[in-house]
């Protein structure tokens, strides 16, 4: 299966719901509307010719200043056809919700939790959408572009009293 025939089959099944597609670096990627994601994913997995049974990768990107701000990226692999397709779904800043794919692939579970934890994208229908890498009491989502890097002051013995006094735990 090559990129063109996969795309043709996908577009025939979904006249609506798909956005633009790209074949940069010979990799096929397609923008999918949030509402259509579940249907498209199920079609790609169950279609007897395509059979994208393996959810290889799931991650999110924060495009601060662009609308929609967040983008969730899925890489699906077809073992039979030895082909990979990339789905991209946008999620706006005011409502960063994307349907969860855990009903089709249990492997999406932790990857969605990680994306939620680090970027704050909410996956509707996820059975246990909790933080996974960061501590539970952490505020904010560290991979967002408006979270600065190196914000934590480093305490040395000569100034640690001064710095610790400004930390949140000083008031607890």
């Amino acid at each position: 299966m090559d990129n063109a025939s996969v795309l043709e089959r996908l577009r025939a099944a979904f006249p609506q719901g798909l956005g633009e597609s790209s074949e940069a670096h010979n990799d096929l990627s397609v923008y999918v509307e949030r509402e259509a994601l579940l249907d498209v994913a199920q079609f790609l997995r169950d279609d007897p010719e395509l059979r994208y049974e393996f959810l290889e990768n799931l991650c999110g990107v924060d495009y601060l200043g662009r609308e929609p701000r967040f983008e969730v990226v899925y890489h699906l692999t077809s073992l039979v056809n030895r082909h990979r397709i990339c789905l991209k779904v946008g999620a706006p800043e005011h409502n960063p919700t994307v349907p969860s794919l855990t009903i089709f692939w249990p492997t999406a579970n932790w990857q969605e939790r990680e994306t939620y934890d680090l970027l704050g994208v909410v996956f509707a229908g996820h059975p246990s959408l909790e933080r996974i890498l960061m501590p539970d009491e952490w505020e904010g989502h560290p991979l967002r572009k408006d979270v600065p890097l190196g914000d934590e002051e480093v305490a040395f013995s000569f100034n640690q009293d001064q710095i610790y006094a400004r930390k949140p735990f000083a008031t607890e």
């Binding site: 290889e56 990768n57 990979r84 249990p106």
Partner: protein, 435 residues
């Protein structure tokens, strides 16, 4: 058991039923979170006990906490709790130039540093669309296969140690030491090599590299025989591994298992064959697969993989001998720093050198994903570039992280002692799980 590419010398495997409880056969595939176990919905119905294993437990291979729900000695539920080693490597990479971020990749899967370098470097090179010299490609294949052997040796040693077979550990680390010596020879560092750079290699291969590798590869098949003598037909080993923690091919794919964990179930998915990189399609090797997907099959597959790695490494060795001396970096001066001799007499080289080390090279706008076969499975790197010298976003598809999700599915209904064997057989590296 059909392990292709390996003579079946020993076939005394005892047949035992798969120890998976029928009561869980029809339950949907889930991955519980620790909170769901500590606050069980079915409290009061059964007399189960919630037990904490880890985070500091020798058999968890790092800082992994397992929340267990036990019915006597039987495992009812397992929820891995990860994140103790989270160091924000993906975030840190966004503030480093493309050259400097290579160093961070070593620190994820610290048992296979060169595989991590390779996955990242290939993704950047895909975005740059630059030509890599043949000699570099072959050297990368050779070193990646040595990494695979080295990583599998640690897995073998610690896995056997977890099941109280102490001597295998000593044998395995004896050979791993030689591999680390080879890494030290080429890069100056035993573990945090950072040897693969965007566009080629950090330094040229030293003169005694090929003879050292040849000496190691010569001895390795006999050494693998030695490990197999210790374990493959050992009754205690069979008792602990055969039929334990089995998973079928459909479930393994649904859980996103990759690497030897997936191939042990009979699915011959290997990125080296599926989406070849570095010219793997031109090498002659087999992909070992198992049948039942139990711990023993994973053991056999990894052992056979080591033999295949030796086979690939020999071919790469021969090619390096044939190619002889040559470039170790791409000729593209916009990516590769010019050699010192050029800087002294060429103004353009001086400018390139200055720009590369003060600013870094700019990568065209776009995104790229590369998945390679690391010792643990599919190691993917997804990079988004905004056209600046620093990556806009780097995501690492960590195979250990994803493989660990299937732990509950494999272990429930079994004994709590088997859990130790199971964690070891999945071969997670916690540095990679938490990144």
């Amino acid at each position: 058991m059909t392990i292709t590419g390996e003579p079946q010398t020993i076939e005394q495997r005892t047949e035992k039923p798969v120890r998976r409880m029928a009561e869980y056969a029809a339950t949907p595939l889930t991955v519980p979170s620790p909170k769901q176990i500590t606050e069980p919905a079915h409290a009061g119905q059964t007399e189960t006990m919630v037990l904490n294993m880890g985070p500091h437990h020798p058999s968890t291979h790092g800082v992994l906490r397992l929340v267990l729900e036990l019915d006597g000695e039987k495992v009812v539920n397992v929820a891995p709790d990860v994140g103790f080693l989270h160091t924000g490597i993906e975030k840190t990479m966004e503030s480093k130039t493309y050259q400097k971020a290579v160093v961070l990749t070593d620190r994820t899967d610290y048992l296979a540093p060169l595989s991590n370098n390779l996955s990242y470097v290939l993704a950047v090179e895909k975005l740059l669309d630059c030509e890599i010299p043949e000699r570099v490609q072959v050297a990368r294949v050779l070193l990646a296969e040595l990494t695979r052997i080295g990583s599998h040796l640690v897995w073998l040693g610690t896995h056997a140690l977890d099941l109280a077979a102490m001597s295998a550990f000593l044998y395995a680390f004896r050979e791993r030491e030689q591999i680390l010596d080879i890494f030290e020879l080429v890069s100056g560092a035993r573990m945090m090599t950072s040897y693969f750079r965007v566009g080629g290699l950090a330094y040229d291969l030293p003169a005694d590299f090929l003879p050292t590798v040849a000496a190691f590869l010569n001895d390795m098949p006999a050494n693998i025989d030695e490990y197999e003598d210790l374990l493959t037909t050992n009754p205690l080993w069979l008792e602990r591994t055969v039929g334990v923690g089995a998973v079928n091919a459909d479930d393994a794919i649904a859980y996103g298992l990759s690497g030897a964990n997936l191939r042990a179930t009979g699915v011959s998915m290997d990125m080296r064959a599926m989406t070849p990189y570095c010219g793997y399609e031109t090498y002659d090797f087999d992909i070992p697969v198992g049948e039942k997907g139990d711990i023993y099959d994973r053991y056999r597959v990894r052992m056979a993989e080591m033999r295949q790695s030796v086979k690939i490494a020999w071919q790469a060795h021969q090619r390096l001998v044939d190619i002889g001396p040559g470039p170790y970096m791409t000729e593209n001066r916009k990516i590769a720093p010019p050699p010192k001799s050029e800087i002294t007499h060429s103004m353009e080289s001086l400018i390139h050198h200055f720009k590369l080390w003060t600013e870094g090279f700019r990568v065209p706008r776009g995104d790229a994903y590369v998945g390679i076969e690391s010792p643990r499975g599919i190691l993917g790197t997804y990079i988004v570039s905004d056209g600046s010298p620093k990556p806009y976003r780097v995501h690492l598809r960590a195979p250990s992280f994803i493989n660990l999700q299937a732990l509950q599915h494999m272990s429930r209904g079994g004994m709590v002692a088997d859990l130790v064997a199971l964690v070891a057989s999945l071969d997670p590296v916690l540095g990679e799980v938490d990144r």
